[in-house]
């Protein structure tokens, strides 16, 4: 899609600020409409007031300079929008709250009071309303039902596809045989990285790879072209393949999130009709099922400060809930950081080298928002342990990694029953019968060894 083809490496601070401001304002509208609060009740939390007010803003650390220091319940502040509070920031007092989970970048609606001028004391966090689920008509669902012979089977596989000791794709090759002969899915969603730019061999100076056909391998892109593409082409062409890039991928020149799709021509995959390249993140439909995918490790990066019932929840549930509530795939701000020490060089130059982390191109983060509906399935790969959970009736999946540093890993197999009209939840909208997909009731996720 064209919107993702923006040029990278040219972020303007004013455009960044515009987006950060708009995020607050758009949630102010959502809150206002949902709770039917007159706009006059929304106030600037940074000025003293005698009575309780409602305000909307972004959670931030109260000291802008701390980055490495762990935040806690007494180090949070709220940033207002230009309209609501001329961008003022005010420390938060959470002592009246029994349950909360807050993280930097989160947009929140609060009820409370600033009695002294020094801090805003929260009395209540107003829940952000959830987006509606997608629906389909009887006709659509009947067609999908009739077109399917068996239950729908989708595989999700996440890179890396080699161990950290080599760039040997034999595991993937063997797996493709299994896909074709045993698993026989309808769709395979493959996440990068295919060739990880931070792979130890890439920097060691000890990279010597030959292509099976004797083609000369001179670049990392060649490795994909001559070693990976032929394997992907072996997948039965009746199976749809969807490729989602990674910020760690050497084959993507667009090293920023949101990230443009892989270039089919560059990968030498132009001739394959069953391979589709989608951007990172993207939302697409397989039959009636709306699937949202994002390849930016929010499960690792989102660090919340919590207390009470959220603290007792599973962390993946909590973060999934934040993603769903914030209506975007990567709600943390600022993004994460990853660096490593480089081989000691005896001069004054940089000691650290940055590794791909979240690479947020903030002015374009609008592309990482859900539209007006919540996907039925969210697939967000993470370095953390695989999981599949149902959160707010959304199926949230982390397939794990196909290859761990020293051993094989995991992938996710989703099996979804054909849509049987009489078993789905019927809703009536403007006189028309529509059906919720109820994927969470119809799906089964198996985490299988790669």
């Amino acid at each position: 899609p064209k919107k993702y083809q923006f040029r990278t490496m040219r972020t303007k601070i004013l455009e960044t600020a515009d987006i950060l401001d708009e995020q607050i304002d758009s949630f102010t509208k959502i809150i206002q409409q949902h709770y039917q609060i007159p706009s006059s009740d929304f106030n600037n939390p940074s000025i003293i007031s005698q009575s309780e007010i409602i305000t909307v803003g972004r959670i931030i650390p109260d000291n802008p300079q701390v980055e490495s220091i762990q935040l806690n319940s007494s180090s949070l502040a709220l940033e207002t929008s230009r309209t609501l509070g001329i961008g003022k920031r005010i420390p938060l007092d959470l002592s009246n709250l029994t349950d909360y989970s807050l993280f930097p970048g989160q947009i929140v609606a609060l009820r409370g009071k600033n009695a002294s001028g020094d801090f805003f004391k929260i009395n209540e966090i107003l829940e952000i309303p959830y987006l509606g689920s997608p629906v389909s008509t009887n006709d659509e669902l009947t067609t999908y039902y009739e077109n399917l012979e068996n239950d729908l089977k989708i595989l999700c596989i996440n890179g890396p596809y080699t161990s950290s000791k080599d760039l040997d794709f034999t595991y993937l090759e063997n797996f493709v045989t299994k896909v074709n002969n045993e698993i026989q899915p309808h769709v395979v969603i493959m996440f990068g990285p295919f060739i990880d730019i931070s792979h130890p061999l890439v920097s060691s100076g000890n990279l010597d790879i030959e292509s099976p056909t004797g083609k000369k391998i001179q670049t990392l892109d060649d490795i994909f072209k001559f070693l990976v593409s032929p394997i992907l082409k072996k997948i039965n062409n009746k199976i749809q393949i969807i490729l989602i890039p990674s910020l760690k991928d050497s084959i993507s020149k667009h090293a920023a999130y949101p990230q443009d799709s892989y270039d089919k021509k560059q990968l030498q995959l132009s001739s394959t009709k069953n391979i589709k390249n989608f951007p990172n993140p993207s939302i697409f439909q397989i039959n009636e099922i709306l699937i949202g995918v994002s390849n930016n490790d929010i499960f690792k990066d989102l660090k919340d400060i919590n207390k009470g019932s959220p603290a007792g929840e599973n962390r993946f549930d909590r973060i999934s809930n934040h993603i769903i509530q914030q209506r975007r795939f990567y709600p943390s701000f600022p993004g994460s950081k990853s660096q490593r020490k480089i081989t000691s060089s005896n001069d004054d130059e940089d000691e650290f080298e940055f590794l791909p982390s979240s690479e947020l191109d903030v002015p374009y983060l609008g592309l990482s928002e859900f539209n007006d509906v919540l996907p039925d399935i969210l697939i967000i790969p993470s370095e953390l342990r695989f999981f599949a959970r149902v959160v707010k009736n959304t199926l949230v999946i982390n397939p794990g990694v196909f290859m761990r540093p020293n051993s094989s890993g995991t992938l996710a197999q989703i099996t979804i029953e054909k849509p049987k009209i009489d078993e789905l939840t019927k809703i009536n909208e403007d006189g028309e019968d529509l059906y919720l997909h109820d994927i969470w009731k119809r799906a089964r996720v198996d985490i299988i060894k790669s």
């Binding site: 802008p64 890439v202 920097s203 060649d222 600022p334 480089i342 060089s345 791909p356 947020l360």
Partner: protein, 208 residues
């Protein structure tokens, strides 16, 4: 110029001047040697042969994939650095450095400071860094020896310079290899927003 001061056109500055602040391209050899690569110039750590870069420590030849992969990793490291999005206050008495950005963008987050925030690692610096790497594998620039020097002129360890005929021959012999390396830099330059003049914003004032 940024502050209304006239500055010479970037294209008229020598590479030595323009890339003075760019970081070097380091290469690792499988023997563990770690050195600065500065093009077809004399170095204590490597020498150019008709078949590419040779490590002086172990006399091993770095193959093209070795050079391109390390070059690409180094480029990506700078892009990741850029996307850290660290901003800094221009008021020297303030010194605010943060990843926080106000909804007003340029406004400093320390109380009462009137300074202007800007990205610490600017897109210009990143663009120059890419152009520097590009210059290292530019056959014409190598032939003309118009590259940024690897050693300071007063550096006593500075090795004796190569002779012109040798440089010409090495440049021609390495043309194909160098073009492959250059294509790596070009891959990222082709996506770099700074390379393209934003006519929309340049002529913004006319639409108002």
């Amino acid at each position: 110029g940024i502050n209304g001061i006239l500055q010479p056109l970037e294209s008229t500055i020598s590479d030595a001047e323009r890339f003075k602040l760019s970081k070097h391209l380091y290469l690792n050899c499988k023997c563990g040697s770690h050195f600065k690569f500065g093009g077809i110039v004399s170095s204590n750590d490597y020498q150019m042969t008709f078949n590419g870069i040779q490590c002086k420590k172990c006399m091993n030849q770095l193959n093209t994939l070795n050079v391109t992969s390390q070059l690409e990793q180094r480029i990506r490291s700078f892009i990741s650095k850029y996307y850290q999005g660290i901003v800094i206050c221009d008021d020297s008495t303030c010194g605010m450095i943060t990843k926080q950005i106000s909804v007003y963008g340029k406004r400093c987050l320390s109380n009462g400071c009137k300074g202007v925030m800007r990205y610490q690692y600017s897109d210009k610096e990143l663009y120059n860094q890419l152009l520097y790497f590009d210059s290292l594998f530019d056959v014409e620039k190598n032939k003309n020896q118009s590259l940024r020097p690897l050693y300071e002129s007063e550096d006593v360890t500075k090795p004796q310079e190569l002779i012109k005929g040798q440089i010409d021959a090495l440049s021609e012999q390495n043309r194909d290899n160098f073009n492959v390396c250059k294509s790596i830099v070009q891959k990222y330059l082709s996506d770099c927003g700074r390379r393209y003049v934003d006519l929309g914003s340049m002529f913004d004032f006319m639409q108002k």
